[in-house]
């Protein structure tokens, strides 16, 4: 087997450009004659726009124009849509608040854009923006999620600010389980609001060619085709064939760059309006205010157990903050990506979840790494850990007793999903071993000797990845299918250009996808180039999120590669005077089974483009496309164990050990997969200990910079102890499951279980800041 094939830790080819400063991110793109945009943003959480007087700005040298929501609507620019229809339990549609890209009458969160200033220089645009005189009439805001339904109503079509009241599962069966329970564990907690903070701020450079009426939008997107689709079909910016969206190197996304935002919409519109390329790059301060945030749930959850400690029922009531408007996938995150995961790794027979999605005068909330699944894991794993403590059983033992056993797959959960495969006991056992659980008591005692408190916490998470079987997704309300497309184009000289609808913004697709294709075709890794992120080059795609790239995008490439091999066999058969069924393909060679003739992949490729000795039934050329629609979700799962030591005098939590044993099915590039896990864990620890997006009662974001929003730094974290177990996915050709979010999903519960263990308290809100921990430690 080659050292670049599937399963090898091949060094990333994209690295060379990044480590030498030759990456090309959106802000690195400049167009001749370009102008600069700055947005006018609301200083208030809720206000009526009485008037906008831009005369001052017009006098600033270099200012080209100030445009507002009215200008966009005069040009028939439509609302920013939400792509997932969620229905309330009474069958009614969710209530969609109108969401113009630039607010027209009312602004609904601090930082909401309501105008765009275009100028010759960034400084002039800033100067211009500063002197635009906007008169606002302040309205009472509804800020906190707890008071959302009682507060002032944001949108006239949304009574009580309730977007939907959604449910999943069997309420009666669940109630019955609770009635019969020997023990009930109940917790009420929040899942803290997070601000994604990809290190590259969002940006857009748009140009419009008046001659061809074509737009080119270079932007920081995780899914350029979806961006194009939405900007065409819904926002009506331009017809799809007149709009090219390019997402070049993108500096991290974590969900926040899935969505179609006001800024790139307005920038593209403005490029046509002023007849010059327009560039906008967010300041970090703008990112804080106007990127979609994540999480922000309030939940009451109960677990019913029988006398043997077997889980009998789970009842969950969640209020999810959606922010002021529905961002692109906002509605699906606290519903289908959350409620469906509440079975966890367990056989709990009856589950019922009710989610109330509410609007508040805060930035829109949407998918952030894990999206719904960290929240679900937090509910399940905090409950299970707490139940174990209440019942005084070992938390690992209680979990074991309730695990779905390897021979029970495929396993239908009471919350819609059918898990195809898994081996939860295996990852738990490996994690226990690695964390030296057996000697924890001794370590705890040693800590106590030094005046410290030590705790250990588990999190046995599961996630549903590889979004998604299209029919199922559409049935559940998705506005698009969730297949992926790929194309394998063999060039006449035998090297290969691969086009994928997935998008890499750190995941390393240029390497892993090349590994897959070169491995399948038996050609050198160097001979495969991967192209992504450009609607002008890649036929279609749905992009990268939900840990779907390898499972869906990779599978599409396998399908296309299989077609290449099939056609290659037919061509080779003709050339070797046999029939295709008698041709074997392996290690880059077509071999006739009935003779000793062989042809290399390159020879067949060449023949396809210089078809002299060529089957008359075949078209020339060797290029194949495929769409892959997954048959099911994939179900990565694993066990994370955190060990913390707390300084009770200051409340500082030191993460002294973090073990993650994950089952991602087959792994294409272990080095990259481990890197994904590390990054996810860091974000999970960030959520548990450091990060919190806070609005004050007046609706101002008070964690609006790195001065106050606490990003995990190198010295906040330990090195992680990461390992894997493997049960291959049963329904995709690579046996892969996806790994991008696991860390962020598993870590928060593990950390909080450890912190509460150390402190001997039932619960503590995330993030467990020093002051909170200090107070808890004082009792």
């Amino acid at each position: 087997m080659s050292d670049t094939g599937i399963g090898k830790s091949v060094k990333r080819r994209e690295d060379l450009r990044f480590i030498t400063g030759r990456g090309r991110y959106t802000d690195d793109v400049n167009r001749p004659n370009q102008v600069y945009a700055v947005f006018l943003r609301s200083p208030y959480p809720r206000a009526r726009i009485v008037s906008i007087d831009a005369s001052g700005a017009d006098e600033v040298a270099g200012v080209i124009g100030v445009f507002t929501g009215k200008d966009l609507s005069a040009d028939k620019i439509g609302d920013l849509p939400c792509g997932w229809m969620v229905k309330s339990k009474d069958g009614s549609d969710m209530k969609i608040a109108p969401h113009p890209p630039l607010a027209v009458e009312v602004v609904n969160y601090v930082g909401e854009p309501y105008g765009i200033v275009v100028a010759e220089s960034l400084a002039a645009a800033r100067d211009g923006a500063e002197v635009v005189a906007t008169e606002f009439e302040e309205l009472t805001p509804t800020v906190s999620v707890a008071n959302a339904t009682a507060g002032a109503q944001l949108h006239t079509n949304v009574p009580d600010n309730v977007c939907y009241l959604w449910e999943l599962g069997d309420a009666d069966a669940t109630n019955a389980a609770f009635a019969a329970a020997a023990h009930v564990t109940k917790l009420t907690f929040s899942n803290n609001r997070l601000i994604p903070n990809a290190m590259e701020p969002r940006a857009a450079v748009a140009s419009f060619d008046a001659a061809t009426e074509e737009f080119t939008l270079v932007t920081t997107s995780q899914n350029p085709h979806l961006e194009r689709l939405i900007l065409s079909a819904f926002v009506q910016l331009a017809p799809e064939h007149k709009l090219r969206v390019i997402a070049p190197d993108v500096g991290g996304g974590f969900g926040s760059k899935i969505f179609v935002y006001a800024e790139e919409t307005a920038v593209a519109w403005a490029a046509r309006r002023v007849g010059r390329p327009v560039k906008w790059t967010a300041d970090r301060s703008e990112s804080f205010l106007a990127d979609a945030h994540g999480r922000d749930h309030l939940t009451t959850a109960e677990l019913a157990l029988d006398g043997d400690g077997l889980f009998q029922g789970l009842r969950v009531r969640t209020r999810a903050n959606l922010g002021a408007y529905l961002s692109t996938f906002a509605s699906s995150v606290p519903t289908y990506l959350y409620g469906t995961l509440l079975a966890g790794q367990y056989r709990t027979p009856a589950i019922h979840v009710e989610v109330e999605g509410v609007y508040t005068n805060t930035a829109p909330v949407d998918a952030y790494r894990g999206a719904g699944r960290p929240e679900a894991t937090y509910v399940v794993e905090r409950l299970v850990e707490t139940a174990a403590r209440e019942l005084k059983v070992d938390p690992a033992a209680l979990r074991r007793r309730n695990f779905i056993a390897p021979d029970q797959f495929p396993y239908q959960t009471p919350v819609a999903l059918e898990y195809d495969t898994g081996n939860y006991e295996a990852s738990l056992a490996a994690a226990l071993e690695k964390s030296d659980y057996a000697n924890f008591a001794a370590r705890k005692a040693a800590s106590e000797q030094r005046g410290k408190r030590r705790g250990i916490g588990f999190s046995c998470y599961i996630e549903a990845c590889g979004l998604a079987p299209s029919q199922l997704a559409i049935q559940l309300g998705a506005g698009v299918g969730l297949y992926e497309s790929g194309e394998v184009r063999v060039n006449p000289t035998g090297n290969v250009t691969v086009f994928t609808g997935s998008h890499s913004h750190g995941q390393g697709h240029e390497t892993t996808f090349a590994q897959v294709v070169s491995d399948k075709l038996g050609i050198p890794f160097e001979n495969v180039e991967v192209v992504h992120g450009d609607t002008g080059r890649v036929e279609f795609g749905l992009g990268t999120y939900g840990s779907r790239s390898i499972a869906v995008g990779g599978s599409a490439l396998v399908k296309a590669t299989d077609k290449i091999i099939a056609k290659g066999k037919r061509i080779a058969a003709h050339m070797m005077d046999t029939n295709a069924d008698s041709v074997d393909f392996s290690d880059g060679e077509f071999a006739a089974r009935d003779s000793n003739q062989k042809l290399t992949f390159g020879e067949v490729a060449f023949a396809a483009y210089v078809p002299s000795n060529y089957p008359s039934s075949e078209e020339p050329g060797l290029s194949e496309k495929a769409f892959y629609d997954p048959k099911n979700f994939t179900f990565p799962a694993g066990t994370h164990i955190a060990e913390v030591e707390i300084d009770p005098e200051t409340g500082v939590v030191d993460v002294v050990n973090f073990v993650a044993v994950d089952d991602f099915g087959r792994v294409i590039n272990p080095m990259i997969v481990e890197g994904q896990v590390h990054g996810g864990i860091a974000q999970g620890i960030g959520q548990a200990l450091l990060e919190h997006g806070i609005y004050d009662d007046g609706g101002q974001l008070i964690t609006g910079s790195y001065m106050d929003y606490c990003m995990p730094r190198a010295d906040d974290l330990p090195s992680f102890d990461v390992d894997m177990t493997v049960t291959p996915c049963t329904h995709n050709p690579l046996g892969v499951k996806g790994c991008g979010e696991a860390g962020a999903i598993g870590a928060p519960a593990a950390i909080m279980n450890a912190v509460t263990d150390a402190l001997g308290v039932v619960d503590l809100p995330m993030p467990a800041t020093p002051e909170r921990v200090w107070r808890a430690a004082r009792g």
Binding site: E14, P201, H678, R713
Partner: protein, 152 residues
């Protein structure tokens, strides 16, 4: 005003407004877009370059202040076929994902290795306090810096 500075060994004379930041000269005037901007409060370190051999945040230095000084950016420390040991270590250890923090991280790491003795994991973690990475969880970055320290 006129500012003359040496960047990656080459002298440049630029005419800038007094309120121009070094990072804007590097990115905007000299086309050295390897130096990134990740924040507006001087905290992320994505813009880190060497000024007369020491790491600084080029978003927090005026171009005027570097008149007569020598600046080294990520583009100046190595090339794809002649990587600086730190660059090589970052690649070998998979110390980057999206690559956005990477140039600043590498510049900080080089300063750290050159100026802190007896580096160990703790010192590397503390030494990289001024550089945020959202992708890697720092695990492999720490590994890379310790590896590079061996070979530098």
């Amino acid at each position: 005003m006129k500012v003359s500075l040496t960047v990656n060994g080459r002298r440049h004379d630029v005419d800038v407004a007094p309120n121009t930041l070094l990072v804007d000269v590097l990115r905007g005037r000299l086309g050295l877009t390897g130096t990134h901007v990740g924040c507006d409060t001087s905290q992320c370190g994505a813009c880190t370059v060497h000024l007369d051999g020491r790491s600084v945040k080029s978003c927090t230095v005026l171009a005027a202040q570097v008149d007569g000084a020598a600046v080294t950016t990520i583009e100046g420390i190595g090339s794809p076929d002649a990587l600086h040991p730190m660059q090589a270590a970052f690649r070998d250890c998979h110390a980057l994902q999206c690559g956005f923090c990477t140039p600043g991280m590498i510049m900080s790491a080089i300063d750290l290795v050159q100026n802190v003795e007896n580096l160990d994991e703790r010192k590397v973690r503390e030494g990289l306090e001024g550089n945020l990475c959202r992708c890697t969880g720092y695990h492999n970055i720490v590994k890379a810096v310790l590896n590079a320290a061996e070979s530098m």
